[in-house]
């Protein structure tokens, strides 16, 4: 086998034992598992949104809509398949296979929605796209609220809790890999060109609509996956989990991390997930439990002010467009 043939699957092969090890060590710490799962889902959301908002420069603020599509379609599928098992396999394996199926279906459903929304609206410029994506997110929420099969405002409960840390981290890893490979490829170069100057990119022969729609579909797919994963470790999903607030949370993450930087998205997603959770559990140990509730309330206005402050003081975010792996990349000849 040549060296290049290994390059694709190699990171995956290396990652699997690490994931298995993590799974075994954290087995008995429920809260840690929950926290890590939440961080994982948010990292997937942030990194996938960064493909559209950061790399392509199209401002989507309806990411929670795609997450909802994934969560509901995947969750519904799991509910329906709950009683079926592949009898020739051990119980756990059969569960994980149907979980994987749910993830793929959820991701595909979200990707399809991404295509339907993206195709017409990506011909529009910046601000319009922002509003259309926002509108899409709201429409999804209203549709779910009006559909009996999705439990209306009550949501879906009883989805099998088949999510595992290894599965979530595996998808985090896959998202990161895809994001990095896109950024490094000629496809990614086209996306960067669109981000920097759409007209110039078009003049250079970049099929801007095509690239934008593809970026949108990929991003929606991973948002859907994040939704399915989310649906399988929280006890209940309802339309309230996928509002504009959730979309904004993800937007704040990628803006703070630096639009266009996958590293930044990851760092900001981890930080902004752990900070409120950490504060909440710290405050709940104090005598005054009302402080813990305040954390949730005060988070939103702070996110808003944070966006304004970042734009005024450091519009490129923490990392700008830099990546941590730029450091160990071989410099081309002649570069300084």
């Amino acid at each position: 086998m040549s060296k290049d043939a290994l390059k694709g699957p190699l990171p995956v092969i290396l990652a699997l034992p690490v994931l298995a090890l993590l799974q075994v060590t954290l087995q008995d710490h429920d809260f840690l598992i929950y926290l890590t799962s939440l961080v994982g889902v948010n990292v997937i959301l942030a990194v996938s949104l960064n493909i559209v908002n950061g790399m392509t420069g199209q401002f989507s603020i309806g990411h929670a809509g795609f997450m909802a599509v994934g969560a509901y379609s995947g969750g519904k599928l799991s509910l329906e398949m709950k009683d079926y098992a592949l009898s020739f396999l051990p119980h756990v394996v059969s569960d994980q296979i149907s979980f994987m199926l749910a993830i793929l279906v959820g991701g595909a459903a979200a990707a399809l929605c991404g295509f339907i929304v993206g195709l017409p609206s990506l011909r529009l410029k910046g601000d319009y796209l922002a509003i259309v994506t926002l509108g899409f997110g709201e429409i999804i929420r209203v549709i779910v609220q009006n559909t009996e099969a999705f439990g209306r405002a009550l949501g879906l409960s009883g989805i099998p809790q088949s999510s595992s840390l290894a599965m979530i981290l595996f998808w985090v890893f896959l998202t990161l890999l895809v994001a990095k490979r896109i950024a490094d490829s000629s496809h990614g170069r086209s996306l960067w060109a669109i981000r920097e100057d759409e007209i110039a990119a078009e003049a250079m022969g970049v099929n801007t609509t095509g690239y934008k729609v593809r970026a949108f579909v990929i991003s929606a797919f991973f948002a859907g996956v994040a939704g399915v994963l989310f649906a399988h470790f929280v006890p209940i999903i309802n339309p309230g989990s996928f509002t504009f607030v959730k979309s904004m949370e993800v937007v704040v993450m990628i803006v703070a991390g630096g639009l266009g930087s996958t590293t930044g998205s990851v760092v900001a997603a981890v930080f902004l997930t752990l900070l409120p959770e950490g504060l909440r559990s710290a405050f709940s140990r104090l005598d005054d439990p009302s402080l813990a509730q305040k954390v949730d309330q005060i988070r939103m206005p702070i996110y808003g002010l944070l966006l304004v402050a970042i734009m005024l003081l450091r519009p490129q975010g923490i990392f700008g467009t830099h990546e941590i792996w730029d450091r160990w990349k071989k410099k081309p000849k002649g570069a300084t």
């Binding site: 420069g57 401002f59 603020i61 017409p120 609206s121 011909r123 529009l124 910046g126 601000d127 319009y128 922002a130 509003i131 259309v132 926002l134 509108g135 899409f136 709201e138 429409i139 209203v142 549709i143 609220q145 009006n146 007209i199 110039a200 504009f244 904004m248 937007v251 803006v255 309330q297 005060i298 939103m300 206005p301 996110y303 808003g304 002010l305 944070l306 966006l307 304004v308 970042i310 734009m311 005024l312 519009p315």
Partner: protein, 306 residues
Amino acid sequence: MADFIQHLINGLAAGTIYALVALGYTMVYGVLKLINFAHGDVMMVGVYIAYATAKQLGRGAQSSLLGVMLIFLVAMGGCALIGFLIERFAYRPLREKPRLTALITAIGISFALSYGFQLDIGFLPGAAPRAFPEIIRPTEWLVIGDRDVVLWNWQVISVLIAVGLMVSLQYLVFKTRFGRAMRAVSYDHRTAALMGIPVDRIIALTFMLGSALAAGAGILYAIKDTAVQPLMGLYVGLKAFVAAVIGGIGHVPGAVVGGLLLGLVEEFVVGYTASTWRDAVAFGFLIIVLLVRPEGLFGRITAEKV
């Protein structure tokens, strides 16, 4: 038939309010080429100012003609001030930056206002909706049949106030020196500056004007809804934005037509299906308009020059 007329009345009454808010969006977009996401939230703040003023005036004075005028004036003035502050400290420093920066800032302000007002710390009101005082006592002016069609006094009054504000705005934009300067800035702000127009001041004034209109519209909306709550700005604002886009953003009469059209469509869809669909109507309408005619009903396609 009676149903139809009733929906027509309700739709027109709601539409004028959307139109008023949409005017603010369209004017700011005209001079800055920026969608002021926070516009709806400024409106919400205006409604809270009106609420506080009405409470100060007390039950008797708040529904007298003088009291109502005072409430409108205080709220509109307060909102003009807020609009000025937002423009001065959040948008002006970013004016020469990429448009995305200003858009993110606008989203940030909108978020900070609508969720900041949900806290119950200090003077902030908290998330629970509050009953808006009856500054115009609702009476039925026209009842046809066995209450088949009811025309309320506030519907007529709010349409009159809205039309009055729109006509004066039209006069301001097309007949006065300030209006001419505003249109010049909207056309090309660099050349306008070279011609001696104080661009910064014109933009600030436009912001204040739009915010004041929003406050007026917000009070009318609160009278219709009989309630005030922190998230009202987000939804009314978004719908008004949709109205502005339908009419062709940047086009003043277009915003009015768009607002009326949206009010009617929403009322008829909700009236003949279920009220839970209300929030989806506006966005569905928006997406259809953007697909069929992205420049809006009255907008013109402008070729982008490099």
